[in-house]
Structure formats: C-alpha cells, structure tokens
C-alpha cells in the first residue's frame, strides 16, 4: 500500500517536473520546428483513418440507438439534434482522445522507451543536446496542435455518420438533418468540446514522454511503460472530462 502510494507520488511529481522542464525549455532557443512538423505528420495525418472510423462509427451507432428508442414515442425528428450535440460536446473529443491515447501515446512511449533502454537518450545528452528539446517538446507541440484539429474533423465525420444512418435506416430527409444540425449546434457547443482537446492532448503527450523516459529493464520494461502510459492517459481523460465539462457548464451559465 505504502509502496503504491510512493509510486503514485513519484509519478505525479515526475509529470510536474517534466511539465516544468517543457515550459522552461520552450522559452529558450534553439527550437526545432522541423521536428514538430515531422511529429505532426505522425500524430495528425497518420491518425486520420483511425479518427474517421471512430467518429463515423460513433455517429452511426448513436443515430441507430436513438432512432430505435425514440421512434416508439415519435421522437425520430430529434435525432439530428441529439446526435450532433452529443458528438460535438462530448463524444468526438473524448473518444478521439481515448483512441489517440492508445495509438499516439503508446507509439510515443514505446519509441522513447526503446531509446532510453538502448542509451540513445543518454547519447542525446552526451552529445550536448537536450532530450526535452529534441524529443519531448516536438511531441507535446504536435499533439497539442494536431489533436484538436483531428477532433474538429471527427465532429464532421460523426455527424455525417448519423446522417447516413438517419437517411438509410430511419428514413430521415438529409436536408432536414443538415438544417437541424445547423440550427442546433452553436459556437459555444463546439467550443465546449473543442477546448477540452488541448488539455487531453497535453496529458497524452506528457504521460507518454514521461513513461518512455523512465522506462527501465529492456523490452519488458518498455512494454510495462507503454501499458502504464495508455492506462494513465485514458483514466486522466475520462476523469478530467467530468471536471472540464463541469467547468465549461459553469462558464456557460456565467456567460
């Protein structure tokens, strides 16, 4: 019990120290924009198919389930409203972030973990350069820029998925569907979902880099670090989503 508490505090402290190092190093030259672009390709473009499938399937399933449920009460016409609001405010940011915690987070941790156990991170330091600058900052920036953009794309694909099911399975008019979506979703709805994603992206990147940099014990250690990274990011996203939703809810009330 005591050792798990110590481990938790050590990990939490490690995140805090790494976050501070990232903030400090980001203010100092040299910066490596080329590395950020490379990582954006890895994190962003290469994740597009996964994000499209996740968002499309989510939109389709939601339309189908709500359609079947609401049809009994003659509420089928509310499907565009429900699907679009759920996707934009909650489903796209959270599901995308969870999927990217698995794909991107695991990728980053295993890559950095392998570099750590094969002394490549030590080599970066021994050659007079900073692993924070060369490895961590490009990945953090790439995630913080790319994941909100991926979520925006996921919003469209999710709503489109709902439209497909609405038209083909529930007999909804596509024009009616699009009109209802446009009438329903406001900028505030979009922002309340979108604004969560940089936070989730930062959590994914910092977790992944931290567990990669602290990987020990060869290939098994890299595997353990990858598992911890994905689990920690997923839990943080799910729990953090509640608090961020509540924060935005209070913020919207205040406005």
């Amino acid at each position: 019990m005591k050792s798990s508490r110590t481990e938790f505090l050590k990990t939490f402290g490690g995140f805090a120290i790494l976050t501070k190092q990232v903030a400090v190093e980001m203010m100092r030259p040299p910066l490596y924009p080329r590395l950020v672009i490379d990582q954006m390709y890895q994190v962003g473009l290469q994740s597009l198919p996964l994000v499209f499938v996740t968002a499309g399937a989510t939109g389709m399933v939601m339309a189908l389930q709500f359609g079947l449920g609401l049809e009994k009460f003659g509420g089928k016409l509310y499907i565009p409203k429900i699907v679009s609001l759920s996707i934009v405010r909650e489903m796209a940011p959270v599901f995308c972030s969870l999927m990217l915690a698995a794909r991107v987070g695991a990728g980053i941790t295993s890559e950095i973990g392998s570099m750590t156990v094969t002394q490549q991170i030590d080599a970066i330091r021994a050659l007079g350069t900073s692993p924070i600058k060369k490895i961590v900052i490009p990945r953090v920036l790439a995630c913080v820029i790319a994941i909100p953009l991926l979520t925006t794309a996921a919003n469209f694909v999710g709503i489109l998925g709902g439209l497909l099911v609405g038209k083909n399975d529930l007999g909804l008019d596509p024009v009616f569907y699009v009109q209802k979506v446009l009438q329903t979703v406001t900028i505030a709805d979009f922002l309340s979902g979108f604004a969560k994603t940089p936070v989730f992206a930062f959590v994914i990147a910092i977790n992944a880099c931290y567990f990669g940099l602290t990987a020990k014990g060869g290939t098994q250690g890299v595997g353990n670090a990858t598992t911890k990274s994905v689990v920690t990011s997923s839990i943080t996203i799910l729990v953090g989503d509640y608090f961020l939703s509540k924060f935005f809810w209070i913020f919207e009330q205040w406005l």
Binding site: T118, Q119, Q120, D122, A123, R125, L127, G128, T129
Partner: protein, 244 residues
Amino acid sequence: MAIIDVRHFAKSFSGKAIHKDVTFTVEEGECVGLVGGSGIGKSVVLRSLIGLEKSDSGEIWIDGQEISKLSERDLVEVRKKVAYVFQNGALFDSMSVYDNLAYPLREHTPLKEAQIRERIREQLDEFGLIEAIDKLPAQLSGGMQKRVGLARAMMIGPKVILYDEPTAGLDPYNTIKIQELVLRLKKKGVTSVFVTHDMPTALNVCDRFCLLANGRVMDEATVEEVKLNKGGKIEQFIAGEVGG
C-alpha cells in the same frame, strides 16, 4: 595539471552506497583504465565524468571546472570537450550513419551541409567505414556500430574520450580495429578513460590502471609496473586471483 580530477566521489542507488570515496586523477594525453569486478560501478564513475549521473557528494573537475553541480544546460560546454563512447554504440536507430555523424556538427558548429558531408566522409574514411555512410545502424554489425559510435564521439574534436566497454562482445578482428583507433586518437593527444574487462586490450592501450573496489580506488599502477609484476592488487585482479 590533471585534466580530470575526481575527489571523494560518492554515489548511492536506492539507499545502497555504490561509491563511498572515489579519488583519482587523469593527466592530459594519458589513457587510464578503470578496472574492477562486474557491478562495482565503473560505468557509474564514467557517466558521472560527463554529468550523466549526479554525485551524492565529492567533486569532479574537468579541465579546471567543477562539474558535479552543473545544470544540464551548463553541462553542454563540458560535453563538447568530453565525448562518451557507449557500450553498444547508442546510435540513433532512426537515422543513417551519415545523420548520426552529422548530429553533433549540426548542433554545435556553423558548418554548411556540404562542409559537413566532407567532414563525415573524411572521418568515415579514417575509421574504415565509408561503405556504411548511408546505412541504418540496424544494418551494421556490432563492431561497426561501436566504430561508428566512436567516429560520432570524435566529430567535434573533444579533448577527452570516455570509453565504456568498447570491445565487449567483439570478435578479435573488431577488437583490434577498436584498439588501433584508440591508439591513433591517443597519439593525437586525446585523453582517455577506459572502462573494460578486456585486459589484453587494456594493457595495450592504457598508461595506468585504477582498481575500483569497496566503493573506492583500492590501488593504482602503471602498465610498466603491471608488466614488471609490481602491480600489487591490480596485477592480482588481472591475473584473476582476486575479484573487484
């Protein structure tokens, strides 16, 4: 004046003291072999000489500068003067040999890419690795990886090289190749600290030995003393009569 001066260096891991009071010096141009039993902490001392490990107490002076309390940022200048050759080369596996060698030049020199290419070709030619220029580390043998690691360490002309088991796991051909390279660098006046269990190689390249045991330097002897059977504990260690 000693280019490396380690004074009362102490280091522990998870409460276990590995080094209690390690003290030794290395003169400019000298090659000192750090020897001792497996797990005694030779690599820990070596890593501390470049700031990859922080000491618990004691002082480490490199070229007149105390480095044990320096931040990572301040250590950059030290690391331009002191190169580290890792046991397995520690080449960046996503980069070609060319890019591995270009890395320190791109980071620390204002050279243009054409000049960098020329320097790398010269270096690889000298190290007998020119055919490997466009290969990835995974396509090289262990011996070649170590030689590329050494070539990379030498790219910005350090004053000191720290060798961590450079011949471990190598066949006789590659061991001799590494020995030749170390001796060639020594002739150029580069100071070296050599951690190894390969005593024939150590006897060929080192000027002096320090035996690490019980958390301190137990004995020191020159190669001549060892060869004349006056090496004390070091001679006994080399003969396999005592452990570290």
